[in-house]
Amino acid sequence: MSAVIEVRDLTKSYKDAVALDGISFDIEQNAIYGLLGRNGAGKTTAMSILTAQNLPSSGQVKVFGENPYENPKVLSRMCFVRESQKYPDDATARHAFAAARLFFPNWDQGLADELIDDFQLPLKRTIKKLSRGQLSAVGVIIGLASRAEITFFDEPYLGLDAVARQTFYDRLLADYAEHPRTILLSSHLIDEVSNLIERVLLIDAGRIIMDQSAEDARAMATNVVGDAAAIDRAVGGREVIHRESLGRVASVTFLGHLDNAERSVLAAEGLELAPVSLQQLIVRLTQQRSAGAPHVAPAAPEGSLR
């Protein structure tokens, strides 16, 4: 695999706030990335800079090995679906698709027509008068039908109901399987996207705190429920990221992996082990950090937590 995006020491600061605090990461070709994190973590800022719609304060961004800023060679290979894309007042969805068709060399009109049908999108109404969900559908259709080599979806589902979101996920997967490309998807609905994404980039307060495969992320933490004293013996020196108790019973989430021998010891002590979903893990990690806890220590051998 080769990196289509390389980011080094990227910082973006505004007058009174630091949006991105010296982040570095690579985006590999033909994979679906989940760009996750809380509101204000820096997700949209990062996407805007990668697509040259915003400028970094310092640091380096390379897309297809080049600086993307005012670089038509690079920009025509990327599609950025913004959460709140602005259109001219009198523009209809039909106008938006016609413009997209001119701009994106791989535009697939057949796919666009199918998606318009799927989302039952009115083409003749001005975009200004569309509902929030219909506005999101316009963005989703452009993002999918453009078949750009790198596509950014910034919370593309706002106002879409559960059925329409499922349509989006299904269409995204099916089209990605047929036409592999690089996709960055930012989302709050982590449970909904956790099986779709191959890698997780977790941003918190302008820093990358997780950059690893979704598979590894799902196996990073374990939850154990049972007698509090027995749990403390079992967990040992592992890093606890969450603890709740009810009388003598505790529920503890910790980082690290248990081997089979350790698992049977726990089972013999009557402790119940449960997997920790990606959503739970991310809630715990970002909650813990915003509560002022120290940096999470590297859990995986290669130090995939930063």
Binding site: A31, L173, Y176, A177, N195, A214, E215, A219
Partner: protein, 136 residues
Amino acid sequence: MIEDGKPLFVQIAEQVEDLIVDGTVAEEARAPSTNELATFYRINPATAAKGINMLVSKGVLYKRRGVGMFVAPGARELLLKERRNDFALRYVQPLLAEARRIGLGPEDVADLVRAGEATAVPATAAPIDQPDRRTP
């Protein structure tokens, strides 16, 4: 169907193994492709590919260039052997542990198993939790 603590790709591999064990996909027949599995289970194709590759290295599937993945001869026998080996650990041990907890001895359990077998639906009944979209 998906989601019980095991890695996703392992669960995908097990789903495909189920199809082979219950005879839905015969030996030398085409196995579901990575993309079919990805769209059916709504997972990333790379995850599905990892599950398929696991079955290839296990000798359950083999690749015919340009055509797809096929069930290897002897795959069903291999899987049956593996599952019979795992049976005691996966099913009998937890059963006995719960029996001990509620004061049932091995003989009581054996009686219950026999009684259960007498009223059980025939083993040939189609399992209801199988995906209904199979290899086309």
